[in-house]
C-alpha cells in the first residue's frame, strides 16, 4: 500500500519532467503529420545538448530543428528524407542511434569484445583453481603414494624437533 502510494507520488512529482519539449504552437494541425514529426524528432540529436533528442530538448536550436522537421514533412518529404537532410549537414552525430558501419564498428563491437575477453579470463581463472583443488584432493586421498623410507625418516626428525 505504502509502496503504491510512493510510486504514485513520485510519478505525480517527476512525470512532468519527462514531458516532451515540443511547444504547443509548433504542433501541426494534421495529427498524422505531427505523429511523423515526433517519430523523426525522437531519432534526431539536439546538437548542442549531447544526449537529448530534439523533441526532449528546450534548447533554441532544437526548437528550430523541430520546426524545420515539420516544414519538410508538411512540404511532402518522407521521414527518411528529413533524417537524411539532417545527417547531410550534421553527420551521423545528429542520429541518437548511430548507424552500423566501418567508422562505428569499434563502438558497436568494442563492448562485446571486452566483455568476451573478461569472460574468458574468468573461465581460465576458475579452471586453474579447479585444477589446483584437484591436486589437493590427490594429496590427502588414499591413492597418494606411500612415503619412502627416506621421507619417513625426515618426518620423524621434524616431529622430534617439534616435541623437544
Amino acid at each position: 500500500m505504502i509502496r503504491t502510494l510512493t510510486v504514485a507520488l513520485m510519478l505525480a512529482v517527476f512525470a512532468p519532467f519527462a514531458v516532451q519539449a515540443v511547444e504547443p504552437d509548433e504542433i501541426l494541425k494534421d495529427p498524422v503529420l505531427e505523429a511523423r514529426a515526433r517519430e523523426v524528432g525522437k531519432q534526431l540529436r539536439c546538437v548542442v545538448c549531447q544526449n537529448q533528442s530534439i523533441d526532449d530538448s528546450h534548447a533554441e536550436l532544437a526548437g528550430d530543428m523541430r520546426i524545420l522537421v515539420r516544414d519538410r514533412i508538411t512540404a511532402g518529404d518522407s521521414n527518411q528524407k528529413v533524417i537524411d537532410y539532417m545527417v547531410d549537414r550534421y553527420g551521423d552525430y545528429v542520429l541518437l542511434d548511430p548507424p552500423f558501419k566501418a567508422e562505428t564498428l569499434v563502438l558497436w563491437i568494442g563492448p562485446a569484445v571486452i566483455a568476451g575477453l573478461g569472460l574468458l579470463w574468468v573461465v581460465m581463472l576458475f579452471r586453474r583453481r579447479k585444477a589446483a583443488d584437484g591436486h589437493m584432493e590427490l594429496a590427502s586421498g588414499t591413492q597418494a603414494a606411500p612415503l619412502s623410507d627416506d621421507e619417513r625418516h625426515r618426518l620423524d626428525e621434524l616431529l622430534k624437533e617439534d616435541n623437544a
Binding site: V47, V48, E60, L61, D64, M65, I67, L68, M86, V87, D88, R89, Y90, G91, Y93
Partner: protein, 183 residues
C-alpha cells in the same frame, strides 16, 4: 605468455591516453578546434535564401557566393564570442582582403543585429537575417561564431568553429584563401 597478458592493460592505457593527449594538444594549439568535423567540407553550399536585416536593402542567398572566394560568418548580437571576433573581421574589411558575408543568427528583436553592427562596426558585404536557424541548420552550425571559407564554385572548403583571430588567420585561413583564388 602470462607476462604478456599483464602488459595488455598498460598498452590499452597508453593507446587511449595517446589519442586523448593528441586531441588535447591539437585543440590547445589552435590547430584543430574542429572537434565535430563538418560533413559539408568539399561540398556545395546548401541552397538558402535569407531576407535582409533592418536597414539593409538586400539579404543574401547561396547564389551570391558564386564566382569569388568568400567567408561566410555566422554571428548574433547575443553572442559574446562574436563580439571578441568582430574587430578582426572589421580589420579584414578595412584592408579589403576578402568579402565577408554575414548570417545574423537568431535575433530576438529585428533591430538587435543592426544596433550591434552600428556599435561594433559592419564588415559584411551582404547580410541575411536568420531568426529561425534556416541557414544555420543548412550549414550544420551548432554555435556562434562559425565561419566558412567558400571557393569560387560555391564549395565549402573550410569550417572555423569559434572566433577567427590573428593566429588562425595567418596560419590557416589566409593561406587557404590565396590558394583558392589561384584555382
Amino acid at each position: 605468455m602470462k607476462r604478456f597478458l599483464y602488459v595488455i592493460p598498460l598498452v590499452v592505457l597508453i593507446v587511449v591516453g595517446g589519442f586523448a593527449t593528441r586531441q588535447l594538444i591539437q585543440v590547445s594549439g589552435g590547430k584543430s578546434v574542429n572537434i565535430l568535423p563538418s560533413v559539408l567540407i568539399n561540398r556545395e553550399v546548401p541552397p538558402f535564401e535569407l531576407a535582409p536585416i533592418q536597414g539593409r536593402e538586400r539579404g543574401f542567398g547561396s547564389k551570391d557566393l558564386l564566382g569569388q572566394v568568400t567567408i561566410v560568418n555566422l554571428f548574433g548580437s547575443w553572442c559574446v564570442a562574436c563580439q571578441a571576433e568582430h574587430p578582426f573581421l572589421v580589420k579584414i574589411k578595412e584592408q579589403g582582403l576578402v568579402p565577408i558575408y554575414g548570417i545574423d543568427w537568431r535575433e530576438k528583436k529585428p533591430d538587435a543585429g543592426p544596433k550591434w553592427l552600428a556599435k561594433y562596426g559592419d564588415p559584411y558585404t551582404l547580410i541575411g537575417d536568420d531568426p529561425h536557424s534556416k541557414a544555420a541548420i543548412a550549414f550544420g552550425v551548432t554555435g556562434a561564431p562559425e565561419s566558412f571559407i567558400v571557393d569560387k564554385k560555391g564549395v565549402i572548403r573550410y569550417k572555423q568553429i569559434g572566433p577567427i583571430n590573428a593566429e588562425i588567420w595567418q596560419s590557416t585561413l589566409w593561406p587557404l584563401i590565396q590558394e583558392l583564388r589561384k584555382q
